[in-house]
Every structure is written in structure tokens, then in C-alpha cells.
């Protein structure tokens, strides 16, 4: 067996069965390893062929054994030809994988969110109650269910993961249900998300037909004309990405970044759980327009219902001929695989996501080169957010010019916002670009209690005061105010909020979620958190000055956006007087 060195630990029969089944389910190239094959010579090819089976295999091992066992790692290493030290390095990167010994208990693990929206709703008490009841509890970063705090996610042992709240009422997070002005969310609640017929019955797949009629080049022209900008936070023009990839040759990819982990964000979950076929159709259009034949949805591991819905939709679409070879009776090939993340905020950074999907640690890559030329497997890649892609359906149907006529000129089309915290009706809200912060809060029934602050854009965003209610929530207006819409997070905090506790946890979030690759972020996030703990979140003038210096190096010299934004919210809270300034 090639030249891997393995310890004597052997996987149990059930571990072998679970791992082999998971690996068989992903589209690896033939997993036969010739005796003469050497890691040295074929390392790169082997990496592309098989290594991306690592994350699914680790998920299977964790589920079977409750941890990443040495014997299990050896079996995975042998089948995928991944050095065991590297497989361990990957496993130990993720929140959902346990590497420090077998669990004492056989039962499921309850992950309880401790980030802001859940923190102010009493997460500590929930955790204390669960622990008193003898449950295995894991304090988790944001679980993407901020509209229904305190969020929980249950990692099943030898059974699928689940979220209790999903079973109760999957649609209660859509307060605007049946509002005729909805475009992105218009099908939510009207269709059965498990039925392709239901989707086609309300006009589903008409956009793909229209795209075929327009031709690939014209589809890209329409997306360019629409002025659509990415909804994941960076607001990069989508058409430019597509055009770049269309101009490249060889194997190309469409990747959906569904690793929705920005605290306060849950809009993409709303889409994927309730309208999965729309995302698949939009991806197919992207594939057709750019000449990419492989699609991937990288979805965060804590979204079991969305994962199930997407996987079901992909199977249904494939059976109906909308995915696979010669889709919809054309000569176009396009198919999609779903890959689950395993708990790591950083994997929402696009190049970290590629590394994670390929079976490496989720560490961001240096840019340039950019994904359009060197993306997944180092090949040309379009990577878009689910919400961004959903806009493409209307752009293709109505034309880019029509789309560009909606919104404010600087921000075109529709936008989803995630309202949570101290508001009366938390949930995902859709508006045409233009309304102010106050308008959005009004849609959600206004703040409960006296509004003290809003966290705009998520943990990577900024706190702003009630004096900003007139701020139009557009790309241009927020940019002018030195803010960012981020992923559309609007988290409200009233006068009952313990801001020192909220900010200390927020700093802890960045400390925990830094990948550790670059010095500014790895150490800076720790020092920032220490300062808030040391001063009880009441930094002195000198502390604030040091914080500014740390912010500057993290902004200037970190590899990726995590480090660039790790101090933004804390500094904004100090500027606003939410913390500090008291003697």
C-alpha cells in the first residue's frame, strides 16, 4: 500500500462500514491504489481525485464513534491516501469533530448557541438546564437560527442530526408570507419544497429555458446589465465574476457558499429549506452561462433540514433530467454535489471554503490569484451566495435592464434582511433596496423595550445607535456612513442588554474562530478578548488606543476578512459608549 505510515490502531467493522459508505457516496475517481503508486509522484493528481472525500468520511466516523478515533483515521488515510497527520490536522480544525478521546456518553450532543441573539435570550440558563438533565452539551457559535433563540442543534449519534424547532413550524420565520411584493421569497410557503412538480407548477425552470433561448453570452450580458452585487457581504459585481470564468478554459466550477455562519445571519437557510429548486435552477443557469459543468453546494454542517431539502431536490432534478448529462434535452452537462461543513466560521471565506471542500484545513489562501482563475481544485470557479444566485432567475426572466431599474441605482433589486434580537417579529424580511433601518425595524414590529443599539452586518459589522434609524440600507448609503450591510444582519438591542457581556462574547467569537494561520489575527484576536475580560469590557483611554493599534495591524496585515473585521464591532461599541468610558 503505497508509502503511508500508519500506527497500529485499526478501525472497527462498523467504522469501516460507515466510512466506506460515505466515501462511496461522493464522486471520487477510482479508489484503487496501485502498489507502485507513490505519494511523491502522484500527490497532486491524487489530491484532486480523492482528497475531497475527507470531510464526508470524517463526518461518517464522527457519527459512528462519537469522535475521530485513531483507527478510523487510519482507515480513512488508507482509502483516500491522505497522510494520517494531515487527516488529524483537518479533523481537529472543526467544531463538530471531537479528537480528544471517546465521549463518556453514548447519546447525542446538544449544541447550544451562545452568540448575541441567543445570549440575550438566556442561552446560559438553557445550557445549565440541559447539563443538569445530564445531556452532553456543547457551547456553540451562532447556529443561524437567530429568529428563534435560544438556538439548538442536535448532533445525532448513529442517526441523522436535527433541529427541534424545524419540526414545529418550518415557516414561522417568514413573517411576510403571501406578501405580493415578494420576489426572492415569493415561492416560500406556496410550494412544497420536496416536490419538483410543485416548483414547476409556479413557473419553475422557465428561467433555464429562457437562458437557453438567450444563449450563454447573452445571459452574462443580462447579469452584467442588472448590476447585481454579491449578497454575502463583499458586494462584488456578480456579472464580472461570471464573465471572468466564462473566458477561462478547462474544467470549471460553480460553488455556492452556503456556509452561512456570520452571527445574526439566517436568510440563506430560509431559501434553502423552503425553495431549494430555485437555488439549483440558478446554479444550472450559472453553469450554462460560464461553461462550468460541476456545481457544489458547501453548506454549513448545522443546517440539517436545508441539507436534506437540497439533496432531495438534486435527486429529483436529476431524475427529471434537469441535472446530469444533456440537461433539459440540451447538449449541456451540469451536476451538483452537496458538501457539509463541520463547524468553522472561517470556511465562509471563499478560499478557505475551497480548501475545506478539497479536504484541507479551512485556511484562507492569499489573493491574488482570484477564484475566477484559481478557485476550487485550482480551477476557474464562480463562487456565489445563495441569495445572490436567486436574483438571477428574475434577471434572466425580466432582463437585466428591468432589474437595474429597481432599487436605488447604486443598489439594484431586492435584498433580504435578517431581523433578530430585541424586535417583536424576528425573521427574514425581503424589501426592494431603499428602505431605512427604521423601516426595517418597523416591518419586524419595532423594537421591544427602548432601543439602545443595532448591530448592522453581523459580528464583522458595527454597532450603531438609534440616531441612525433614517439610514437607508443600501450599499452606497452604508458605505458613505463608514458601515457595511454585510450579510444583511439587523440585530436589535434594548436597554435591558448587558453590553459588556455581549461585547466580551463577540471578542471571544473571533478568538475562537480565527484559523490561526497568520500572526496578526491569531494573536490579535486573543489580545482583544483578553483586554475586554481584563477590564470587564470597560477599557480605559489607553486600552482603547492599544485596541486601535491592534485593529490597524489586523486590518492591514491579516490574510483575510476575518482578521480585517475582528475589531470593528468592539471599536464601534466603544465609540457609541455602549462599553468603556465609565470610571
Amino acid at each position: 500500500m503505497a508509502d503511508l505510515h500508519l500506527t497500529e490502531d485499526r478501525a472497527s467493522a462498523t467504522e469501516v462500514a460507515a466510512i466506506d459508505a460515505a466515501i462511496a457516496a461522493v464522486s471520487l475517481d477510482p479508489a484503487v491504489v496501485h502498489e507502485t503508486e507513490r505519494l511523491v509522484r502522484s500527490g497532486t493528481k491524487r489530491k484532486n481525485d480523492r482528497r475531497h472525500g475527507l470531510l464526508p468520511a470524517l463526518h461518517a466516523l464522527q457519527k459512528e464513534s462519537g469522535w475521530i478515533s485513531p483507527g478510523g483515521v487510519n482507515h480513512i488515510a488508507e482509502v483516500l491516501q491522505v497522510p494520517p497527520a494531515e487527516a488529524f490536522g483537518v479533523a481537529s480544525f472543526y467544531e463538530l469533530f471531537r479528537v480528544d478521546g471517546a465521549p463518556d456518553q453514548e447519546d447525542d450532543v446538544v449544541h447550544v448557541c451562545v452568540d448575541a441573539a441567543c445570549q440575550i435570550a438566556g442561552a446560559d440558563q438553557v445550557i445549565a438546564d440541559l447539563e443538569a438533565a445530564g445531556k452532553q452539551v456543547h457551547r456553540s457559535p451562532c447556529l443561524g437560527q437567530c429568529e428563534r433563540p435560544v438556538a439548538q442543534f442536535i448532533q445525532g449519534r448513529r442517526k441523522p442530526d436535527w433541529v427541534e424547532a424545524d419540526a414545529e413550524d418550518e415557516l414561522w420565520n417568514l413573517p411576510q408570507k403571501h406578501d405580493p411584493s415578494l420576489k426572492l421569497l415569493k415561492r416560500v410557503g406556496r410550494i412544497d419544497p420536496t416536490s419538483l412538480d410543485s416548483y414547476v407548477g409556479v413557473g419553475g425552470y422557465a428561467a433555464l429555458s429562457k437562458a437557453f433561448a438567450l444563449g450563454a453570452d447573452q445571459v452574462i450580458e443580462e447579469v452584467l446589465a442588472s448590476g447585481l452585487m454579491g449578497r454575502g457581504g463583499a458586494a462584488f459585481p456578480t456579472g464580472i465574476k461570471w464573465q471572468g470564468v466564462a473566458g477561462e478554459s478547462g474544467q470549471k466550477h460553480i460553488v455556492v457558499n452556503a456556509d452561512e455562519s456570520e452571527p445574526g445571519t439566517f436568510k440563506d437557510r430560509t431559501i434553502m429549506e423552503n425553495d431549494p429548486f430555485a437555488l439549483i435552477e440558478a446554479m444550472t443557469i450559472a453553469g450554462f452561462a460560464t461553461g462550468a459543468t460541476k456545481g457544489w453546494i458547501y453548506i454549513r454542517g448545522e443546517y440539517p433540514l436545508a441539507t436534506k431539502r437540497l439533496e432531495g431536490a438534486i435527486v429529483a432534478a436529476r431524475e427529471a433530467g434537469f441535472l446530469g448529462e444533456g440537461i433539459a434535452r440540451s447538449s449541456i452537462d451540469f451536476d451538483i454535489e452537496v458538501r457539509r461543513g463541520a463547524g468553522a466560521y472561517i470556511c465562509g471565506e471563499e478560499t478557505a471554503l475551497f480548501n475545506s471542500l478539497e479536504g484541507f484545513r479551512g485556511e484562507p489562501r492569499q489573493k491574488p490569484p482570484f477564484p475566477t482563475t484559481n478557485g476550487l481544485f485550482d480551477q476557474p470557479t464562480v463562487i456565489n451566495n445563495p441569495e445572490t444566485l436567486l436574483n438571477v432567475l428574475d434577471i434572466v426572466q425580466d432582463g437585466g435592464a428591468t432589474y437595474a431599474s429597481t432599487g436605488t441605482g447604486g443598489s439594484n433589486g431586492q435584498k433580504l434582511f435578517c431581523l433578530s434580537g430585541h424586535v417583536n417579529r424576528p425573521g427574514t424580511y425581503e424589501v426592494e433596496f431603499g428602505p431605512t433601518l427604521g423601516d426595517l425595524l418597523g416591518l419586524a414590529g419595532g423594537a421591544t423595550g427602548e432601543l439602545k443599539a443595532v448591530l448592522l452586518g453581523g459580528a464583522a459589522g458595527s454597532f450603531i445607535g438609534p440616531d441612525m434609524l433614517e439610514l437607508p440600507l443600501t450599499m452606497e448609503a452604508t458605505r458613505e456612513a463608514g458601515l457595511s450591510l454585510g450579510s444583511g444582519v439587523i440585530m436589535a438591542f434594548n436597554d435591558s442588554t448587558d453590553f459588556p457581556a455581549v461585547l466580551t462574547r463577540l471578542a471571544e467569537f473571533f478568538k475562537n474562530e480565527s484559523c490561526g494561520q497568520c500572526v496578526p489575527c491569531r494573536v490579535g484576536a486573543v489580545r482583544q478578548h483578553e483586554m475586554l475580560v481584563r477590564t470587564s469590557a470597560n477599557p480605559s483611554e489607553a486600552d482603547s488606543q492599544l485596541l486601535n493599534e491592534m485593529d490597524q495591524v489586523m486590518k492591514d496585515a491579516s490574510i483575510c476578512g476575518l482578521g480585517h473585521t475582528a475589531s470593528t464591532a468592539v471599536r464601534s461599541a466603544i465609540a457609541l459608549g455602549l462599553i468603556g468610558g465609565q470610571s
Binding site: 485513531p70 479528537v99 492569499q366 500572526v519 491592534m550
Partner: protein
């Protein structure tokens, strides 16, 4: 390379601190700075490894770039305007050095000490008990020790063990964030791991976190005297490859072995025999 005439190499011209510099296409900004005579501090960069781009000590300011740019891994582009000595650059380098000094034992990292002084880094301004990397020294054999208190996570050892040199993949980065460590699978001991004891990780370590056992023992006995050591270049006597060795000798005893980075056969890397197999030169009586 030798067959290619210099006339066919495309060149790129960039401005470094106001001086115009012309370098071959594909060169790094660090290369260009070198041509301009500007020294760039580095930690995770090494001549014989792929840039890891992790320490961020080599950052420079490039006009129209929102953030600073790592000069070790960023290729030159025509017309780039680069500042290596601006306030922003100075600040980032100083903070990186402070962050490392406040969290890692840099007592045997001579280059970092020199840079820290030059940039005025003050690692003591982060409270009374800032978190530090605290690990037990791992002594698992007589060849080398691992003292991860001194580890700055530069990735050099991982890359030397992996596809930059040895292709053994015995170690990798495990964990995340401040908890990230260099480790074998499940931290098994080196003899139980894939390690082949080439010592290439030791050779590239910039902070002495990885150290020859012979050096470690001498340091423990307060008898490590680099200023009294001589370095003798010779050819390894084991096989016919012809690796050049540098024998570091103190008190007429070999204390460690390296290979020159610019040696065309080794690029600084050796195997267990050349690196550690010197005992026959100076037999020690065993009890």
C-alpha cells in the same frame, strides 16, 4: 535555465521606495526589494521552501491596495509602486513582532530579537498575564527535541516534512486559532509516526523550537558556545549522491550538521544518515 538566453526572459519594472527596479517576470516583491538593496524582515519565508505567507512580517505597502501586501509571495506586476518603510508598514511589522514576543519564547530566535529591537517592539504591554504558548518539551529520542513554547507556527517544518522536501508528511498543523499546534496524528510520539528523522524540519526552524539533541544538551549544561564553533564543509560519505555537509564543531566535537541552502544537490535538505549519522567519526563509549 542555463539553456535559456537572458534575452528571452520578460522583465517587469516596479518602483521600490522611489527607485525604479527591473526584475524577471514572476519574481516576488521581496526579490525586487533585494535588487533595490532594501532588506525585508522574514520569518516564515525560506529560500528552499514555498512561501507559507503566514507570519506577515514581510508586508509592504503597494499603491492602490487596500491592505498591505506580503512581499514574499506577491509577484511583481508592471508599474507597481511599493513603499517598504511607511508608517503603516512599520506599524504592522512592530505589532507582529510584539504579538509573537508576547506569546512565544523567542529567547533563541536571534533574527527576531534583532528585528524586534529595530522596530521598537514592546511585548510587555498586553496586561499582566497574556496567554502564551505553553507546552512541555518533547524529548522522544536522541536526535532532536521539540520545544513548542518556541513555535511561531511559520509552517516551515510542515512544508519541509511535506511536499517542499521530504514528502513524509509526519507532521501537520492541528487545532485552530491560538490553539493551533504542529503535531503528528493524535500527537503520537515521533518514533510511532511517519517521521524518518531526516531533520529537515530542524534545519528550517527559525526559533530553535526544533533543536538537535546535541545542541539542547549543551544548552542545558550552559555549554553551548556558537561563537567558538567552526563550520567545516565536506561531502557525505554514505552514498553516491554527493550531498554537501556543514559540520558544526565545538571543542573538537561535532554538535550539529547542516547543508548549504545553495547547494544544488540538497537545497539545504539531508537524510537521516547525513544529518545524524556522524557518531562513527567520534565514537563514544557506551556503558
Amino acid at each position: 535555465m542555463s539553456e535559456q538566453s537572458t534575452a528571452t526572459i520578460s522583465t517587469v519594472t516596479v518602483s521600490i521606495n522611489g527607485s525604479s527596479v527591473t526584475v524577471p517576470e514572476g519574481a516576488s516583491l521581496k526579490d525586487a526589494c533585494g535588487v533595490a538593496g532594501v532588506e525585508i524582515p522574514t520569518l516564515c519565508w525560506a529560500a528552499n521552501l514555498t512561501p507559507a505567507n503566514a507570519c506577515r512580517l514581510c508586508v509592504v505597502e503597494v499603491e492602490n491596495s487596500r491592505t498591505l501586501v506580503p512581499s514574499c509571495s506577491r509577484q511583481v506586476e508592471e508599474g507597481m509602486v511599493v513603499q517598504t518603510d511607511s508608517e503603516r508598514v512599520h506599524h504592522s511589522r512592530r505589532m507582529v513582532l510584539e504579538f509573537l514576543g508576547s506569546s512565544v519564547d523567542l529567547s533563541q530566535a536571534d533574527d527576531l530579537a534583532r528585528w524586534s529591537k529595530a522596530y521598537g517592539a514592546d511585548p510587555d504591554r498586553y496586561g499582566n498575564s497574556p496567554a502564551r504558548i505553553e507546552e512541555e518539551i518533547k524529548i522522544q529520542d536522541n536526535l532532536y527535541i521539540r520545544d513548542y513554547d518556541k513555535c511561531v507556527l511559520c509552517f516551515k517544518c510542515v512544508d519541509a516534512c511535506g511536499d517542499d522536501a521530504q514528502h513524509t508528511f509526519a507532521i501537520a498543523v492541528s487545532g485552530r486559532g491560538f490553539g493551533a499546534r504542529i503535531s503528528t496524528e493524535f500527537d503520537v510520539s515521533l518514533p510511532d509516526s511517519a517521521c524518518v528523522y531526516c531533520g529537515n524540519c530542524v534545519a528550517v526552524c527559525p526559533t530553535n523550537a526544533l533543536q538537535f539533541k546535541s545542541e539542547f544538551d549543551l544548552r542545558e549544561a550552559a555549554a553551548w558556545k556558537p561563537e567558538e564553533q567552526t563550520v567545516t564543509r565536506t561531502v557525505c560519505s554514505y552514498c553516491g549522491v554527493g550531498c554537501n555537509l556543514e559540520m558544526h564543531v565545538q571543542d573538537n566535537t561535532i554538535v550539529k550538521v547542516t547543508s548549504p541552502n545553495d547547494h544544488s544537490v540538497t537545497n539545504g535538505h539531508l537524510c537521516i544518515k547525513g544529518r545524524f549519522g556522524w557518531q562513527y567519526v567520534q565514537p563514544v563509549a557506551t556503558e
